[in-house]
């Protein structure tokens, strides 16, 4: 295949018509492996384009102010990324993360940084710097209900694209109708009710109601695409064996 065309296909934001593993080229599969991280919730993974949180891209989570209930969705990913010797940054968090709870979940709190910017400019600067730094595995940034320009959010998206971290921007649900360059936008309207507002390369306007029974597994499940890829490699191996017999 043409090299330039392959590069375009490899981009995680390129939409492929049919998502059957046989339709995806091997190199794209290989490329996309490691570009996403399972959320730890099967029902959410199933609707996400990369079968998990896209890494190296900005994700927006909208929720009503003072609710702050979405961290449960991120705990499995946070725990997984906590194994890396990198910072997990909370920028302008609404409250203090309860350290004993994090410890009980196996999260090393020494890797957590809490940053409290004084104003909007500092918030944007801090978020951009942490996204550009290779020393962070996770960046959670809480935006206030002020207006943020498209260009400001684009800068953050470009900064996130330079790295491989999980980058989440928490925003007030009143701002959900504004334009933004984020790869994924989720709305958490009620308890454990997640709506995919936008997802690059995937389906949108899907609502998932997580039941109280559906808790994240301690070990992150292998994402569907990784499973498909392993199936594909099995088929290929079989094919090579068959050919060698001939």
């Amino acid at each position: 295949m043409n090299k330039k065309l392959q590069e375009i296909i490899n981009r995680p934001d390129t939409w492929i018509a049919k998502e059957h593993p046989n339709n995806l080229s091997i190199s794209r599969n290989e490329f996309l492996q490691g570009k996403s991280l399972s959320t730890g919730f099967t029902s959410i993974d199933d609707v996400l384009h990369l079968n998990g949180w896209p890494l190296g891209a900005s994700i927006e989570i909208f929720e009503p102010i003072h609710t702050n209930g979405s961290m449960n969705l991120l705990l499995p990913a946070m725990k997984h990324l906590n194994r890396q010797n990198r910072w997990q940054v909370f920028i302008a968090p609404p409250y203090i993360p309860y350290a004993p709870m994090l410890l009980s979940k196996g999260i090393d709190i020494k890797k957590i940084l809490l940053i409290h910017p004084k104003n909007k400019e500092e918030l944007l600067w801090t978020t951009e710097q942490t996204l550009r730094s290779t020393t962070c595995s996770t960046v959670f940034s809480w935006f206030d209900s002020k207006q943020y320009r498209y260009s400001e959010l684009k800068r953050l998206q470009l900064a996130a694209a330079e790295g491989d971290m999980l980058s989440i921007l928490f925003r007030d649900d009143k701002t959900k109708n504004t334009q933004a360059p984020s790869v994924l936008r989720l709305l958490i309207s009620n308890h454990r009710r997640v709506t995919v507002l936008k997802q690059r390369g995937g389906k949108q306007d899907i609502t998932i109601q997580l039941t109280d029974e559906e808790n994240s597994s301690t070990q992150l499940k292998i994402s569907k695409r990784e499973k498909d890829r392993s199936k594909l490699s099995l088929i290929e191996n079989h094919y090579i064996v068959e050919n060698s017999k001939i």
Binding site: P64, Y98, P100, M101, I109, L114
Partner: protein, 472 residues
């Protein structure tokens, strides 16, 4: 074997002020020309000319007054450079004297050492003459020989210094004048006279010096020791207010600082910039780094980050870089077998954030082995003393803890926090601090109409309700 190398900077008075060669420059002292660059030399200017005569020869000639403090600073800088060759050295007149006999093996012999020294000095941009002799006093005299490299061993030392004029010894000018009256003008003339006869007639210090030169007496050597602090300045020739114009000066001083750190094998985690304005006002800018291994790039980046927020009340005339807290480098071992990918140090991000935001706005999370929730969590601006290895068996605990418990509205046997709350689990009793201010609470998990969960408690003493945490 002791062997001394003298590096004599014959154009020090000129090159300490300017290394420019494209325009004619001459240095004067007492209205007489004492040094000039090649451009000025080719226009006919010579040492000993009067300033007016030199100006007549070349109207474009730039005349600079000799600056002895600039020469001294220049030699001190060169000492720092030479300190990496040998620890035994000092400044003598316009020269550096280095004991090289003990370090010849390290550099692979005399020729290899001289070629290294010459290459580095040429790169810096100075004109230098070399003198090699068995003692410190003689090597300086030998450097006045006709060649660029002049070598005198014990066997031919007298032969080498004999043709040199006595008036080289400016500190004994009265003695050399007396000698010249009697017809003794060179070292050769003096060496022939017995020491006893010289001692009776001339200055004892002068005779002592001769004994040092000839190796008949051991010289008390004042060794150079590098300073344990760093202070260097950059003077702008005009007032500067635009920050962009200050950046080249910052880079220049940081380069010099970096050389200092390398040569001295020291490190620091704090540097201080002093901006001197024309009216004498000094503004200070302190840069901190969490890592002691900060290098030129890091200091430059941190300085520029902090400079963004700096405002100057008046124009800046001079910039000083100061560092007082230096610690010896502790060496790190690298793994030979496993080579991990080079990664940015984690402290770099902290440095960046602390220099732009205030360090109190960057917090680390800590945990205490306490029953009362608000006492179990704390934040600090560094990780000193942070505990994180406490393992407890917990019931359900919230993700977020409010900085302080907030009172809940209790109306008609119902709890309200923005919405109505219903208790769905509990109570879990937490009692503590009985020895001072007793705490007794019953904790519950409450749920609002939207399904969000909260951690609330009832103070058993006051019978009031509070919210303390938010579940995710």
């Amino acid at each position: 074997m002791t062997l001394w190398l003298c590096l004599r900077f014959e154009k020090l008075s000129l090159q300490s002020l300017s290394l420019e060669e494209d325009i004619p420059i001459a240095i004067f002292q007492d209205q007489l020309i004492i040094s000039m660059n090649y451009c000025a030399f080719f226009s006919g200017i010579k040492i000993g000319l009067l300033v007016e005569e030199a100006q007549e020869l070349n109207s474009n000639l730039q005349l600079l007054k000799r600056n002895k403090s600039a020469e001294k600073k220049c030699l001190e800088k060169l000492c720092l450079w030479a300190y990496s060759i040998t620890p035994k050295l000092n400044i003598w007149h316009d020269s550096l004297r280095l004991e090289i006999g003990t370090c010849l093996k390290i550099f692979g012999g005399l020729n290899s050492l001289l070629s290294k020294v010459d290459k580095e000095i040429t790169n810096i941009g100075y004109d230098v003459r070399y003198g090699i002799a068995p003692n410190a006093a003689a090597c300086w005299l030998v450097s006045h020989g006709e060649k660029k490299f002049n070598v005198a061993l014990s066997s031919n030392l007298k032969e080498c210094i004999s043709p040199l004029p006595l008036n080289l010894l400016s500190e004994f000018s009265s003695t050399t004048k007396k000698l010249s009256v009697t017809g003794l003008t060179t070292f050769g003339d003096i060496i022939r006279i017995p020491n006893k006869a010289l001692k009776i007639r001339f200055d004892e210090r002068f005779v002592e010096f001769l004994e040092y030169v000839l190796g008949q007496r051991k010289e008390l050597f004042n060794n150079y020791y590098p300073k344990d602090t760093f202070l260097e300045q950059y003077r702008f020739s005009y007032g500067v207010q635009n920050k962009k114009e200050i950046i080249p000066a910052i880079e220049y001083l940081l380069e010099s600082f970096n050389i200092f750190l390398t040569k001295m094998q020291v490190c620091t985690n704090e540097i201080c910039w002093l901006f001197h304005s024309i009216d004498g006002y000094v503004e200070e800018l302190t840069i901190n780094s969490a890592s002691c291994f900060a290098n030129y790039k890091t200091w430059r980046r941190l300085t520029l980050i902090k400079l963004e927020n700096q405002t100057f009340k008046t124009t800046v005339e001079g910039l000083f870089l100061q560092c007082q807290d230096l610690t010896p480098i502790s060496f790190r071992n690298f793994d030979f077998l496993y080579q991990s990918e080079p990664q940015e140090p984690k402290e770099d991000l902290l440095d960046q954030l602390r220099n732009r935001l205030h360090s109190k706005n960057i917090r680390r999370l800590g945990c205490c082995d306490e029953h009362v929730p608000e006492h179990a969590v704390y934040t600090a601006d560094d990780d000193c003393g942070l505990l994180s290895d406490i393992k407890n068996e917990f019931n359900e605990r919230p993700f977020w803890l409010l900085p302080e418990p907030q009172p809940l509205k209790y109306y008609e046997k119902k709890l309200y926090w923005k919405d109505e709350l219903n208790l769905i689990s509990g109570p879990e009793r937490i009692e503590d601090n009985w020895w001072s201010k007793p705490i007794s609470r019953d904790y519950y998990i409450a749920k609002n109409l939207h399904g969000n969960h909260y951690w609330v408690f009832r103070n058993r003493r006051t019978r009031r309700w509070y919210i303390q945490g938010i579940f995710s």
